[in-house]
Symmetry: C3
Subunit: 312 residues, 3 copies
């Protein structure tokens, strides 16, 4: 069964059936990376272009390995911000790449909506959003969901606390959207200056009190603090931030006994998370990375399966 669409642009428009299909496929693909020969011929001769307008060695590497393990041919096309200013438009770059006959373009871009714009203009090729501005990061939410399911059986009914700089986080947005679709009880928490007003419309609970968010939670998901943003005075100091919203053993004790700790990485030790907790037995941060490769394999595989069936 293919996906209902040929692109993966965000969680907002992704039907629950597609989410289920991706998670189940990822589970069956995970085993490939555990073999001595970590490779299946499924996508041999397919071309996957990683079009990255932001440096992101981690996400790009995850997509690159996913493509290689399915035997697809990958091409990294990195555009530095500096060359964009004097260079061609996103659509022109996309049309040029399309003329080289890729099957999938994976795009990371600093502007929200860039993948959607590509998808609207580039007929005959699938687009996967690998993070667009402060908007969405769908494969991150999918790998997070896979990790939660592994540990907690099902997403429905879970209390998930997402803590930190919500405003600038595409991870928070995609996770909130996905978790609500799957029936979880989502709590958003951070300094008032870092929570956008529109989040309430997603049906999530918003609080500035970390205790209220974490209390009896099944999952505590910490977001990365962008230290560069400290200067913009969203919060006064690292020390004060950590005392209010950093996760240490004391605050984690508010959650359920078997709660898991998540983080999209890379972590800032001592800023948003205590090393004790990051390296503790409740932490599933590294399993998230492993699931990232499996989810991206599933997405590439299902998208190419879907387009083969001729769906639009």
């Amino acid at each position: 069964m293919p996906l209902s669409g040929k692109h993966l642009l965000g969680i907002a428009d992704l039907p629950v059936a597609d989410i289920r299909l991706i998670l189940n496929t990822a589970k069956s693909f995970r085993e490939i990376s555990e073999r001595p020969i970590k490779k299946v011929p499924t996508l041999r001769g397919r071309t996957v272009i990683n079009l990255f307008y932001e440096a992101s060695t981690r996400t790009r590497s995850s997509f690159e390995l996913a493509a290689k393990r399915l035997s697809a041919d990958g091409l990294n096309f990195s555009v530095s911000t500096s060359s964009v200013s004097k260079g061609e438009t996103l659509i022109d770059t996309g049309m040029n790449l399309l003329s080289m006959s890729p099957d999938i373009i994976v795009i990371r871009h600093a502007s929200a909506g860039a993948p959607h714009m590509l998808a609207a203009h580039l007929k005959g090729c699938s687009i996967v959003n690998a993070g667009d501005g402060m908007h969405e990061h769908p494969t991150q939410a999918l790998l997070d969901a896979l990790t939660m399911e592994d540990k907690k059986r099902e997403l429905a009914g879970l209390k998930v606390a997402i803590i930190g700089d919500i405003t600038h986080s595409r991870v928070a947005r995609s996770n909130a959207l996905l978790l609500k679709k799957m029936g979880a009880d989502v709590w958003i928490c951070g300094p008032p200056t870092l929570i956008p007003v529109d989040f309430a419309s997603y049906g999530v609970n918003v609080t500035y009190d970390m205790k209220e968010a974490v209390e009896e939670a099944d999952v505590v998901m910490m977001l990365r603090v962008q230290l560069e943003r400290m200067k913009e005075v969203f919060f006064p100091s690292v020390k004060e931030y950590f005392s209010l919203y950093g996760l240490d053993r004391k605050k984690l004790a508010w959650a359920k006994k078997d709660a898991i700790v998540m983080h999209p990485g890379p972590i800032n030790r001592g800023v948003e998370i205590d090393p004790d907790v990051a390296d503790g037995t409740d932490s599933v941060i590294l399993e998230q990375v492993t699931n990232g490769v499996a989810v991206r394999m599933a997405v590439l595989y299902l998208i190419l399966g879907a387009s083969e069936e001729g769906s639009k």
Copy 2:
């Protein structure tokens, strides 16, 4: 039938029979990129090194995909200009790469003649010129020729107008050389400050009047304006440049009704070409990109075929 030589250094020394062979081979290879499985085992186990001294994501990607679709192993070896200054000489770098047993080195370099120097010193490996200074860019001329043949049947007798900054354009030079060899009627046009004296010796027509160049043309090929060069006062302003040498619907109307519009990319919308024309039905700019992959596949394939036959 192999090529007559083991290198592709420029159009100047390329016999007409070789040009024909590359174009015909490219036509037959084009279909590979249209398959679901875009890959043939032809060059399995061959090593192609992309040695790029200038940033050029587009040309490098085209060569990289060409190599992958023929199942060759590619290696990108980028040398930033800064490290060249304190680093080893071109020949030393080349000899080092040669010691890793590549079959082909594809080189892009800011200095005219760099590929020829490599070819003279590196015995046992083929050199392909991917652009050397303001000198030649042979695969660009070949992909342009392929595009013209597709649309106009044969090159002989075509009126081709090449418009813009001729002085700094290896694209113009390689195209002029190839088109003259194939019997086309070539018109070179641009501001007097941007046309070099030696072009007359190629047997092309030179004019500063765009109407004369474009009138009854079968092909209008626009060159990219290097905005950095505007500062060097080769022409007074973008607006004035566009009014004299930019291609819009009005100027295009001077050409034949079925004339095609070409551009090596990336285009500067509104500088040398009007968006209307770039995106219009006469534009074959994106087909040039598609043909670029096919031509490069043909070149890699024929060169390795040729060297196998033991030709020097």
Copy 3:
């Protein structure tokens, strides 16, 4: 027969039997790079990550080609120094990469001991040291040994002179360690400011007089002068350095008639070596590069063979 350990961290801890095994395996692999189809399926589906914290196109390319010729999947993960400062720790980056299920991580790092730290923390993956600070560069010493054996039959009893900036050279350190293990007579020579005190403990001879080092030598190994370090006043001028420690025909005449000249590259012509000598018939500098690919193929192959046998 596998290696005795699952990592290659340095020559210091490498048993003589392992050195022999790597050299012999490399000899048998060298032939692969001479075939038209330079590829064997030995490591198909294995993942080799090149984790480079220092720019090193040459060493990275050598490892990359070695992996490709064994059909392994390679991933380049480059971390610029700037991003390290605000980024995650080495161990966190390593643990993240480990979560993507690589078989081998090849690491180049500016700090001595970085590979050992990774090896201590990353269970389930092999680590290969591609150069750590001023400490070791084991594959360089192995490829140098292979080159000497080719030319001189056996290492035992050879007089090897290593000349230049010893203090900052991981190449000198790894070579001295390996050559002593194999029974060679090692002479270290350079300006007093550039020879560290601890070298005497390796059982090598130390002299500041180039004639004493080179006299009757079988091998003269020149080290690269880091021109950046000239400013740190370790020696007064290029001209004076060359007159005392640069290798020209006159100084080479002190060595045995059939002495070979080596250099890890890239060479500074006229600084530490005269072009005459670098390009002369005694120079085996380019054979070192060729042997580099073969040695790295052997290391990747033997390490994965070793871990397959279940050794720790």
